[in-house]
Amino acid sequence: MSRPVKPYGDTMNDGKVQLSFALPLDWSEAADEAARQLVAKMGFTDVQVVEGRPIARGFSTFVVYASTPQTIDVDAVKAPSVKTHAMSMEEIDAYVREHLGRKIRIAGACIGTDAHTVGIDAILNMKGFKGNYGLERYQMFETFNLGSQVAAEDFVRFAKEHAVDALLASQVVTQKGSDIKNFTALVELLEAEGLRDRVVLICGGPRVTNLMASELGYDAGFGRGTVPSEVAAFVATSLAGMNARGR
């Protein structure tokens, strides 16, 4: 089936989009017109430059409303969710007891030069996030929080030495693609070390999507607003699956 969808302003399929951007130009009526033509070149129709003004010598900013002719077939969009197994902490602990019969060993770190630990801490620390307890509070998880600026080498070495079942890598800084670089380095190193298939490998951060994670070779990716139980449920069910398949 195909279900084509367009942006919605006030009428189905009107395609309305708001844009704003700066141009390296002094403001003038011609700059407004340049903005209009530029947005038209982007493929929009019914382009209205509703605001244009100077913000500094040589720079102007614009607000534009326009219609896009593009549609997206929603049914063709693949974005498998990792948050399917909604379970409470108690349920997850029970599940692990039943299906694995032992504690899951899980290690988390802010890799590369990234020092933004709040996100990974929200998943790991006792306290958790949005009233959802962190993995340290789970009876059936043994949690290692390696903190910030952890080199991929150190993370992998730790995983080996502590026979870790699941690795959680966090990246918050995305400037110049540094997140992708660091995530890729980690997965490559795990493969080089022959560890990749033996662990559940998860990445997370505000710009991470599950789709991007699987493209990078991760088992799952968790983005903004993730709560610990979503991660715990994924890890538990994945490990149970791996167990069943006899890893």
Binding site: Q18, V50, V63
Partner: protein
């Protein structure tokens, strides 16, 4: 934040408003209009359209001779009912079809005619009361969030698109939905009929459209567990008829101003005064909250200068509403956040004005309108101006809060614009929920002095109006710099003097119950 204001001056303003409206009330008592008569028919059950889509009530009233209509349509309609045995709907259709005319019925004595009408009058009143009771019951079961009640507009022109937008807005947090009327409807001397899909900058107010929206909102109210109110526009040439339709379809509020049509739509002042009175009696009875239109003073003139005129209009609207039997809690007096955003300390003046109204009209559900005039294509700044408006509203305990749209200067709201507007209001009002209660204005400071000055100037303005008489004051352009002649403007030919035996069964019924009726909150 209580401001110290001169209570004797407030009393003086109220006394002046009473003095100003008294002669107008005498005029009202001696006159009726075609719209009032059509409303009586609608209440009795007349509905539908005849040839050329002309509504049956119009066809009937237009068929009356001036002498005839001076007595009111009711009695002759009652005679026809008695003599034909038809019900009002069928009778109306027959008259519209030309198979009957009212003038052919003259046999029945007055008392019998009244008797024939009585069951329909009582049924109508019972129906309105039932709706009022239903509203109260729903409000009890599905309590609203505390005020400021977040109010947004839908305005697509198509009632079905409006319905989608209204439901989405309710889900996004709206507590009141207004369907903006199509441009120019206020100047039509009839109410369009049926569901409509082609409005211009708004959607026609029709009874069927009211019904479609009310039922959609009832459904979403139940789903959300909170009653979502519906409002529309009454002021205009059909003010009493729209009040009638609203009473029947359980709208919760109506835009209804005693002078808006005169000043801003060039509707004849006598017509407006008579119409607003009848419609307000009915609104009072229906438990409908009226919204007055003081914000309109600020769309063309400077908000700092016009502040006294806004307050003066609030006093006059209040007095007219009282004399139509409305309790304070149904009088949603208007104001707007329209001071130039680039004026230093403009926020302080807005707070002063809003708080002043709050203190002078403590029991009125004040209606606070958002910034519009100074909004531009800079949606980011617009969103901020709206935030300061939201803050002012929650600080000064405004009741009915129209959410400002960041795209005000661009287009009638997109669905997402409404969501952003509601989020803006919710964020600001929550983070500063009790701020207004936790501060005091500095005695004799800028805020207090501003409020005092506005009150003083308002009382001077009212003195002048009282001196001139309201009609002459309007002619002298005392309000909004607009001059209107007492016999000029649209709809004057629909005003007529009552004959001595003029009779409108609803008017008497409403008047009897009027003052006594106090709708539950």
């Amino acid at each position: 934040m209580e401001l110290r204001i001169d209570r004797t001056l407030v009393e003086r303003c109220r006394a002046l408003a009473a003095a100003i409206t008294a002669p107008v009330s005498d005029f009202i008592a001696a006159h009726s209009t075609v719209a009032v008569e059509r409303s009586a028919l609608r209440l009795l059950g007349v509905d539908g359209v005849g040839t050329n889509e002309v509504p049956v009530p119009n066809l009937i009233i237009d068929s009356l001779t001036p002498e005839h209509r001076a007595h009111g349509v009711a009695l002759s309609f009652g005679r026809a009912l008695a003599e034909t045995g038809l019900d009002p709907l069928a009778l109306g259709e027959a008259i519209a079809a030309g198979t009957l005319t009212l003038s052919q019925f003259a046999q029945t004595p007055d008392e019998a005619a009244r008797g024939a009408l009585r069951p329909f009058v009582e049924a109508a009143l019972a129906r309105v009361r039932a709706h009022r009771a239903e509203r109260e019951q729903r409000l009890a079961e599905l309590p609203q969030l505390p005020p400021p009640l977040l109010y947004v507009i839908v305005a697509s022109g198509n009632i079905y698109e409006d319905r989608t937008a209204a439901v989405a807005a309710a889900e996004a947090g709206a507590q009141i939905i207004a369907v903006i009327r199509s441009t120019g409807q206020s100047l039509l001397d009839f109410v369009p009929y049926g569901p409509t899909t082609e409005g211009f900058g708004g959607t026609y107010a029709t009874q069927e459209n009211f019904r479609i929206m009310r039922s959609a909102l009832d459904e979403v109210s139940e789903r959300l567990g909170r009653y979502v109110m519906l409002t529309n526009y009454a002021s205009g040439l059909c003010m009493p008829e729209i009040a009638t339709m609203a009473a029947i379809e359980r709208l919760d509020m109506l835009l209804n101003d005693s002078m808006y049509g005169i000043l801003f739509r060039d509707i004849n002042m006598k017509r407006t005064f008579v119409d607003q009175h009848f419609s307000r009696m009915l609104n009072a009875y229906s438990g409908i909250i009226i919204n007055t239109g003081e914000d309109n003073y600020l769309t063309t003139a400077d908000a700092v200068e016009q502040a006294p005129a806004v307050l003066a209009s609030q006093f006059i609207n209040e007095e007219f509403a009282h004399s139509a039997g409305m309790p304070d809690r149904q009088i949603g007096l208007g104001d707007a956040y329209e001071i130039n955003p680039d004026l230093e300390d403009g926020f302080l003046y807005q707070v002063a004005q809003a708080q002043l109204a709050r203190q002078i009209f403590p029991n009125a559900p004040l209606k606070y309108m958002p910034p519009t005039k100074h909004m531009t294509g800079d949606i980011f700044k617009g969103h901020l101006i709206d935030a300061m408006f939201n803050l002012t509203s929650v600080m000064t305990h405004q009741t009915i809060h129209l959410c400002g749209m960041l795209t005000e200067a661009i287009h009638t709201p997109f669905l997402a614009d409404r969501a952003l507007a509601l989020e803006n209001a919710r964020y600001v009002m929550n983070t500063a929920r009790h701020f207004g209660d936790e501060i005091v204005a500095k005695p004799n400071g800028v805020i207090e002095r501003r409020a005092q000055a506005v009150l003083a100037d308002c009382s001077a303005l009212l003195e002048r109006v009282a001196d001139l008489g309201l009609m002459h004051a309007i002619e002298a352009a005392v309000f909004a710099d607009v001059s209107r002649a007492p016999d000029g403007g649209r709809g004057f030919d629909g005003v007529f003097a009552r004959a001595d035996d003029y009779w409108n069964p609803f008017e008497s019924a409403l008047r009897q119950q009027g003052d006594a009726y106090v709708p539950a909150r």
